[in-house]
């Protein structure tokens, strides 16, 4: 994660459009994956309709 010093040195408008950002420059693998998925319009799970596994069996 960027250090406080690194973020404080950035201009206020330094945040980039996810469609334009170079994912190799994102230091968080989770975020890099998500940006790539959004850019490629990919579903957020490996399998379609996979979300059902998140329904809790309580």
């Amino acid at each position: 994660m960027p250090t406080t010093q690194e973020t404080q040195s950035l201009p206020a408008t330094a945040a980039s459009d996810p469609l334009e950002i170079d994912v190799s420059g994102i230091s968080s693998p989770a975020l890099a994956r998500l940006v790539e998925e959004i850019r490629n319009d990919e579903p957020s799970t490996n399998r379609a309709y996979d979300r059902v596994h998140n329904r809790h069996n309580r």
Partner: protein, 374 residues
């Protein structure tokens, strides 16, 4: 016509454990007691016919999830017969999954699931000291060791890459998120999700002091920081959904965002019910006024009905606070069950409103720090 993307079948109405936070057994509803213990062969056949017709009527496939109670109380033979019926009834594009407490996973059951392309997700709340506080047996005994054994079998099966879908944990805000994160990650699931405890404005969730408090939001914020900093993270569905929504994409599950999800619940006797989490609001909250059953009714007609459409619309929040909130498109007003109050019904923001706001703000701040705009 309401498009159905999920059909949840409660194949067993009983459970082999008795989690103290369970919305089925411990939050005021007794509907399960009048249900058959397990789905009958006749009901399974009727469900197969009904789902085949629904699939033909829709343009897009739906996912089927076997639920309960504890679905593996069916046993291997009954499970095999049910899956055979479902696979015969539905095209391969329709996924079938099981949400299980993991304690009854056997090699034979896994072989059957593999044969009929049915994956499993396991409920586990964290390391034993966290999990066993609430997920206990009927005598109050711990369950963690048996769950872990079930997960081990799942991981070691030759078809584990397909079968092992994910883990699902209910948040204990008194636990250390780092301990929970590292432990669950160590179980090797491709995806992990987290749920807040059931509760509402009239019955606060256990661990939440007030509407204004943010125990769950702050716990999740700490978990998020670990997730974003992890060089080898699993997928965490809740965070992925919120981040996607903030960046202009869509989520995949109800509870965040304003996408309408079409969920059809079939009870153990084949009757059609509402979202079972509504049980936590009041006794009978998950039942339609109209009595529908796969034995007598066409599911396409059910989902085309005014009553079903009205229920479907409940996903969207109605309170002024939600509709005027700048984060509506991300938060979505949360889960309907969390909006209930005895005074206003479901016309409230979520009881987790402050938690959601805190978490969303935290994620926005982190995105800026990582130089990603919304």
């Amino acid at each position: 016509m309401v498009g159905i993307d999920t059909v949840l079948i409660k194949v067993a109405s009983r459970c082999n454990i008795n989690c103290s936070y369970c919305y089925v057994y411990n939050m005021g509803d007794a509907g399960w007691a009048v249900m058959p213990k397990r789905i009958s062969h006749e009901t399974a056949l009727a469900i197969g016919r009904a789902l085949s017709e629904l699939s033909s009527a829709q343009r897009h496939p739906f996912a089927v999830v076997l639920h309960g109670g504890e679905p593996l109380l069916l046993g291997q033979k009954r499970l095999e017969r049910l899956l055979e019926i479902l696979r015969r009834a539905l095209p391969p594009s329709h996924s079938i999954s099981i949400q299980t407490n993991g304690m009854l996973i056997t090699e034979a059951i896994l072989d059957t699931c593999s044969e009929y392309r049915t994956n499993l997700s396991v409920s586990i709340d964290g390391p034993g000291i966290v999990h066993d506080r609430y997920r206990v047996g009927h005598g109050g005994e711990p369950t963690h060791a048996k769950v872990v054994e079930g997960i081990r079998r799942l991981r070691e099966h030759r078809d584990a890459q397909f079968l092992y879908s994910g883990l699902l944990a209910v948040i204990d805000p008194d636990s250390h998120p780092g301990d929970v994160y590292q432990y669950l990650k160590g179980l090797g699931a491709p995806s992990i999700d987290f749920l807040c405890r059931d509760g509402n404005h009239s019955h606060l969730p256990d661990g939440k002091a007030s509407f204004e408090s943010i125990e769950f939001g702050s716990w999740l914020a700490r978990l998020l920081d670990l997730y974003l900093a992890d060089p080898t993270p699993p997928r965490i569905r809740l965070f992925d959904d919120i981040i996607r929504l903030i960046l202009g994409a869509s989520g995949i599950k109800e509870g965040v965002g304003i996408t309408d999800f079409g969920i059809l619940i079939l009870e153990t006797d084949g009757s059609v019910a509402k979202n079972d989490t509504l049980k936590s609001a009041y006794d009978g909250a998950d039942r339609f006024e109209t009595t529908w059953s796969v034995h007598e009714h066409n599911l396409t007609e059910v989902v085309n009905s005014i009553e079903f459409a009205s229920y479907h619309a409940m996903q969207r929040p109605s309170s002024k606070a939600c509709l005027s909130c700048p984060e509506l498109h991300v938060c979505g007003g949360g889960m309907p069950l969390h909006r209930w109050s005895d005074e206003n019904g479901f016309n409230n923001p979520s009881v987790y409103c402050m938690d959601q706001k805190f978490l969303i703000d935290h994620i926005r701040s982190r995105l800026i720090e990582y130089r990603i705009s919304a």
